[in-house]
Every structure is written in C-alpha cells, then in structure tokens.
C-alpha cells in the first residue's frame, strides 16, 4: 500500500513539477489518493476529511515542491499529522492514591473487556506492585462471571465470589466493600458489553460510574472497527468521563484507523494496546507505529527497536548478507528462529517491515508461526552438522531419522526443507528492495527505499 501510494503521489508531483505551476486542483488530485488510503484503513470520514484539509495547506508549500520525492514528502506531512492527532506516547495508567481505586472497563459486546480486565490486573500486580481484586458485573452474557473467575485462577488474581442473581449495582457495592476490607489497592470492574444506543444499559453504566467514581474509565475497542468507531466512542464519552481507550486485537492485520477516529473525536488517549489472547499480550501505545500502519508503511520504529534489543549487529549483518543472496542454510535458519522467538514471533517481525504485506500473507499461508518454530528448532537440532550446511543431503532415510529424532513426522521435515527454499526466495526478493542493504542499520535497512533517514522515527 505504502509503496504504491508514494509511487502514485510521486508521479502526480513529477508531472506538476515539469509544468512548473501548481494549481489547487492538482494538489486535490494527489490528495485523493491519500484520502482513499485513509478510508481503506477505516479512518472515519469526518476525520479523514479534516486531515486532508490540513495536509493540503502544508502540501502546497515550497517544501514539498522542492523536494526530490514530493510524494514521500506529502506522506510525511500526513504521517506527522496522524501522529499529532494520536497524541504522545507513554500515557501511563493512573495508580490509586486512595485505595481501593476502581478501574471501570466498558465497551461494545465482544470487544475484549473481560480479557483486558485480567491483562491490566496482571500488569498492575507485576509492574506496579498493586494488590488487585477483580469483579465481573456482567449478568447478561452466559458464563461471563465464570470467564473472569477462570482467568483469575489462571493468573493467580483474586476475583470476587460469584453470587447468582445479584444485579450489577449490588455486585459493585460488594466489590468495593471487599476491596476496602481486604486491603486491596485496585478493584477491576469488568462490565457487560453494551451498545451505545441501548439507553437502559447505558444508564446502568452511568449509575455504576457515579457509585464508584473510577480512577480510570477505559473504553475497550476492537482495532478492526469501521466507521462506527466515532459514534460509539462519542456516545460512551457522553455518558461517562472516559479516561482512556484500549485498542484490542492489534495483533490482527487491520490498518487500525479506528484508533485515529476515536482519539480525534473523544480526545481520550489510547493508553494500551492488546496484542493477543494471552494475558501478557498487552503493550504500550506508540503513535508512530499506528500512524505507519494506517498509511500501510509498516512499523518501522518498532522493528528497529526490537531488532536492536535482540540481535547483535554483527550477527545480523552476516545473516543479512547471506539472506540477501538467498543462501541461508539450516544453521542460519536456527539462528534466525532463535532471534525471531526473542523478537515476538516471525509474523510479528514481518508485519513490522514496510512493503512486505504480501509476503506476510505468504508466510501465514506457509504456516510460519510460533508453535511451528519450536518444532522446527527440534528438527534442526536432530540434523548432523553436515546436513545443516548442505540441506540437499537430506534424502529419504535421513528424513526418517531426523523425524524420529525430533519427535516429528517426515512431512514436517519436508515442510521445513521447503520452507528454507521459500525463505531463501523471499529473502532474495527482500534483499532487492533495500538499496542500502541490511548492513548499516541492521535489518532496518530493509526499510523504505530512498526514504529520508530517520523518517518515521521518534
């Protein structure tokens, strides 16, 4: 998306520069592509419209016209505007000053409230050293209270005992009492999913809110949400003083325009993002990353950060050189698998690279994933060192031996062999994308061709 967007914009501006004059119409034409990109990313229409207006006034300026790559310059202007709306990073959750402080989790049905309740509780316990009590006020959804209870048991977090038939307001009272009596710092209140247009349920929520005066009232919203994100966020904001938004399912491949829409309409910061079903899959929100994602640019900053954290530069260079030529052997693959596990999985890594959306699809189809990685590592360990260096040696009887040694099947061994071939092909392709190659900034050199250095960075 990004590659094609900047490509198209460059074409438009090239044409304009040759003519020497820039008319308003011309800029409009160019910005139409930006508008489409935003709308395809589910940015709400009114937000997209105003953004374009702002960008237009800046895009007509000298800076863009004089730039060698005006298309990319326009995208930079858009990107910066997106980051500006999305707000600054590191907005931390409030920690209770007068315990017990209540955290109220609200949102539409199925948005991830219960899971996120447990995630945040665990986060508060582990990172902030808080004593947390969880309570489910959901008497609507079948087995909702059991769900929170089981999550509590899994993570070792106390939950309020369930009393059948008790209405939400009563449960709230009981939770806050248990919170004070038990010396808890925080009481996590998980509520039933509700539609913003459901007057009765919204009134109930407002009553609970008034009763506990939460220190955090968090709207839990799905990153895949479309245009309705604006309505929903606006209406929840009208009824409750939202203190923040938590975006869930950011581990999906949605472009995440909803984040922008909700931030712009409510002014509420996005405090955290959910990146998986497990309870530790919660992360800080970084505006540049979502901005890049909305524009389809890939998560350049994250990639650089994570790569720096877990890969030794030299090793990366060596691997990169081989990878670029498509000459990786099983030793390299083993190295890579190990690094990739440290970096949060191959699919995560691929998703952060700009312009590799298609390859990510191929990877998904090839079933390159976390569990698989464990199997693959076992298979490679069962190979002799010669086999690792010369994969071609691995024929029928060797395959059987390796499969038996690693507790896998010959099919799986075959699959891995094929994956090495595929990976080599892909890496070769990727190598061609980066003109500077991989050397200078580790893997980040794979990034955007011809892009101003530091762009998209912090």
């Amino acid at each position: 998306m990004f590659d094609s967007l900047s490509g198209r914009l460059n074409e438009v501006f090239e044409g304009l520069k040759r003519r020497g004059t820039l008319k308003e119409n011309d800029v409009d034409l160019a910005l139409r592509d930006v508008r489409i990109a935003l709308l395809e990313a589910d940015v709400a229409l009114p937000v997209a419209r105003d953004l374009i207006k702002k960008v237009k006034s800046e895009a007509v300026g000298e800076k863009v016209l004089k730039s060698v790559t005006p298309g990319q310059m326009v995208i930079k202007v858009v990107h910066d505007a997106l980051v500006e709306i999305l707000g600054s990073d590191d907005i931390k959750l409030q920690i209770p000053l007068n315990p017990p402080g209540a955290y109220l989790m609200v949102g539409l049905q199925g948005s991830g409230k219960t899971t996120t309740s447990a995630k945040i509780s665990q986060y508060l316990i582990e990172k902030e050293n808080q004593k947390v009590l969880m309570a489910s006020l959901d008497v609507a959804r079948p087995a909702a209270q059991e769900q929170l209870k089981i999550l509590g048991e899994q993570a070792g977090i106390t939950t309020l005992p369930i009393i059948e038939g008790q209405p939400p307001i009563e449960i709230t009272k009981r939770a806050m009492q248990a919170g004070s009596l038990g010396g808890y710092d925080a009481v996590m209140l998980d509520t039933a999913g509700r539609l913003a247009i459901d007057e009765a349920l919204m009134a109930e929520l407002a009553a609970i809110y008034a009763q506990v005066k939460p220190i955090e009232t968090l709207l839990i919203a799905d990153a895949m949400t479309g245009q309705d994100a604006v309505n929903t966020a606006e209406q929840f904001k009208q009824r409750l003083d939202l203190t923040g938004i938590i975006l869930t399912r950011v581990d999906g491949d949605s472009r995440g325009g909803a984040a922008l829409s909700m931030r712009a309409t409510t002014g509420c910061p996005i405090k955290l993002i959910g990146t998986g079903e497990k309870l530790d899959a919660i992360e800080n929100f970084h505006p540049e990353r979502i901005a890049g994602r909305i524009l389809g640019m890939g998560d350049v900053v994250s990639l650089v950060e994570r790569v720096n954290e877990s890969v030794e530069e030299e090793e990366a260079e060596r691997l990169a050189a081989k990878a670029k030529k498509g000459q990786m052997d099983f030793n390299d693959m083993a190295d890579q698998l190990r690094q990739v596990t440290n970096m949060g999985g191959l699919s995560g890594l691929m998703g952060m690279l700009p312009g590799v959306g298609k390859m990510k699809k191929q990877m998904t189809e090839a079933n390159v994933d976390e569990k698989m990685i464990l199997h693959q590592q076992a298979i490679i360990q069962s190979m002799t060192s010669r086999e690792r260096l010369k994969p071609k040696l691995i024929q029928a009887s060797r395959k059987r031996r390796i499969a038996a040694g690693s507790g896998t099947t010959v099919q799986e061994v075959n699959k891995l062999l094929k994956q090495l071939t595929t990976l080599n092909k892909m890496m070769k392709k990727m190598g061609k994308m980066g003109n500077k190659g991989l050397s200078r900034h580790g893997l980040s050199g794979l990034g955007m061709p011809g892009f101003p250095p530091g762009f998209g960075g912090v």
Binding site: E84, G110, S111, D222
Partner: protein
C-alpha cells in the same frame, strides 16, 4: 497554527459534519443529473456505512450517469441508490437450509475473536429445536476461558445436548468425537462452535484446517455448512477475513452479527461484489430469538438511511 487550536477545531468540526449528513440528501439537479455536491454527499453516506471508498465511488459514478425527472425528490434518489445496492446483494441472500438426508446435518461456525460465534450457535440451535429437531452443540473452542460453560448455558436454553472436553484439549478430536456421538444418538443437527482466531495467525488457521480435515474423514461432504461469523462493526478488514478464512475452510456463507447497533455493516456490499459469498442470516440481539433472515432490500435501505430518513 498551533496544534491545540487545530485539534480542537477538528473536534468541533466532527460533530458538525456528521450531523450534516444525517439531514439527508438534498437532491440538487444540474439539468437532469445530480450535481457534484449531491453525488459527493451520497458517496459519503455510503462511506460512513462502511462500504469502503472504492465501492462507494463506483456506486456514486453510476448515480452520476443517471438522468432523473426534473423535480425529483431526494427520497426518489435514495430509492434509486437502494435499488443499485439491492442488485448487488440480492443474489447472495441465501438462507441456511436444513437437509434431513444428512444424519446429522453438520454446521461449523468460524470467525475472528468475539464476533458472535457461540451466540450464533445458540440462536441456530433455537431455530432447529423449535422445529422439533434433535440438536447437538460441540464445544470445539477448547481454548478460551469459560467457552464451554457459555455453550452449556446455550444448550440448556435451547434443549440441546452439549459435547465438550477439558480446556486445552485438541479441538479436532472433540469435533470428531461429537460427530460419532451425534451419528449414534440420532442427532439431526450438529452445530460445532470453534475458538475465535485472527485470520493472520498461521498456527490457529492450521488448527482450523485440521478440524475441517478431521470432519471430512467421517463425512467427505461435511461440514454441510461452514459459517463465517462477521461482526457488523468491522470495517474494511472484513475483506481480509473472508479471503483468509475461505482459503482455510470451505466457507459456505456469512452470518453478520450485532446489526442491532449503530454500525451498518456496509462492507457486506464490497464482500458481495468481490467474493459473491452468500449471507445466511443477521444477528440483531443477544437472545436466542435474535437471528433473522438477510433481506437484501431492507439491508440496502438501512445503508442509505432510507428507513429513517424522509
């Protein structure tokens, strides 16, 4: 320009622009064609309903070609637009049909997390038990906390048998077991509920593939229906969902949930156009009765706002 003022103006602008659109289209004609502004407003209405930019602009282009009567009312224009959308949707409106020759008729539900699979299984069970059919529910979501308990409540509500395994068990084995049991006890409809999975997760999609493979081992024609449950609040990502799930499982159609909310589910039009994928039913609430047939014309009317406007 300071960033403060820009942001606050943006926020103010937002409420203004959304209210303008709900006032409906004032059909202004140049000659006998709609003027550019009217076309743009209509296009924006469609975008706001999640049809996506390319589908919306395609419909707008068709609209701009159309010659209307001299004094056409906005309602007329909206009707015409409804007609255009209905044409796209009509062919895909296909209800789920019970096949008594299948013993049991196996329906597999799949979809991303939280889309409404389990609830939809409950609603489908209700429709069948009401007709006096013997129904079994298989809890092949062996991952999520209390997924089994949730399905058991639906089993009780709809007088269906529930087959389950402990958390962490192999989903495909559970599916296999449920079919064997359903065959032996004369179950007529077997509904298999699966765990939510994001379509970009290779391992979870492989698990789904395995479930399908195992089902086919017993009956190569099964699952007789494989329903992708889609949340109506989902935006353009629905396209990727359909694309990926179709690659992994023999999807026979969609059920779109949560249409009782303010989201319109317009991405269905893009899906209909791109994949010609059937839509079986729509979810309009959280009770067992809240599953309705998908009516192309009604749906199109709600997308353009005709059912409330004018």
């Amino acid at each position: 320009m300071s960033s403060e003022s820009w942001l606050s103006r943006l926020r103010k602008g937002l409420s203004k622009s959304s209210s303008r659109l709900t006032e409906g289209v004032t059909a202004v004609l140049t000659g006998r064609r709609l003027d550019a502004e009217a076309i743009e407003e209509l296009e924006e209405t469609l975008i706001l309903a999640d049809l996506g930019p390319s589908m919306a602009s395609r419909l707008a282009r068709t609209l701009s070609q159309k010659r209307f009567e001299k004094n056409v009312e906005s309602r007329e224009v909206l009707r015409f637009l409804t007609g255009l959308i209905t044409e796209v949707l009509e062919p895909i409106a296909t209800p789920l049909i019970y096949r008594s020759d299948k013993k049991p008729h196996i329906i597999l539900t799949v979809g991303v997390n939280g889309s409404g699979k389990t609830t939809t299984v409950g609603k489908l069970a209700q429709q069948h038990t009401k007709k006096g059919r013997k129904v079994m529910l298989a809890a092949a979501d062996t991952f999520r906390a209390a997924a089994v308990e949730q399905l058991e409540v639906w089993g009780n509500r709809t007088c269906s048998t529930v087959v389950s395994a402990e958390t962490g068990a192999d989903a495909a084995s559970l599916a296999y077991k449920s079919i064997e049991q359903a065959k032996s006890d004369g179950t007529q409809v077997l509904l298999i509920d699966t765990a939510g999975r994001l379509h970009n997760k290779g391992n979870l999609m492989a698990e789904l593939e395995k479930i399908v493979r195992v089902i086919k081992k017993i009956d190569p024609e099964a699952p007789h229906d494989c329903v992708l449950v889609l949340d109506a609040t989902t935006g353009q990502n629905a396209i990727a969902q359909v694309e990926f799930f179709q690659k992994t499982a023999p999807i026979t159609g969609l059920i779109v949930t949560k249409l009782d909310g303010s989201a319109k589910g317009g991405v269905l039009v893009a899906l209909a156009d791109k994949f010609k994928i059937p839509v079986h039913a729509v979810g309009v609430g959280e009770t067992a009765e809240d599953l309705q047939p998908f009516e192309a014309h009604d749906f199109a009317e709600s997308l353009v706002g005709l059912e409330i406007e004018c």
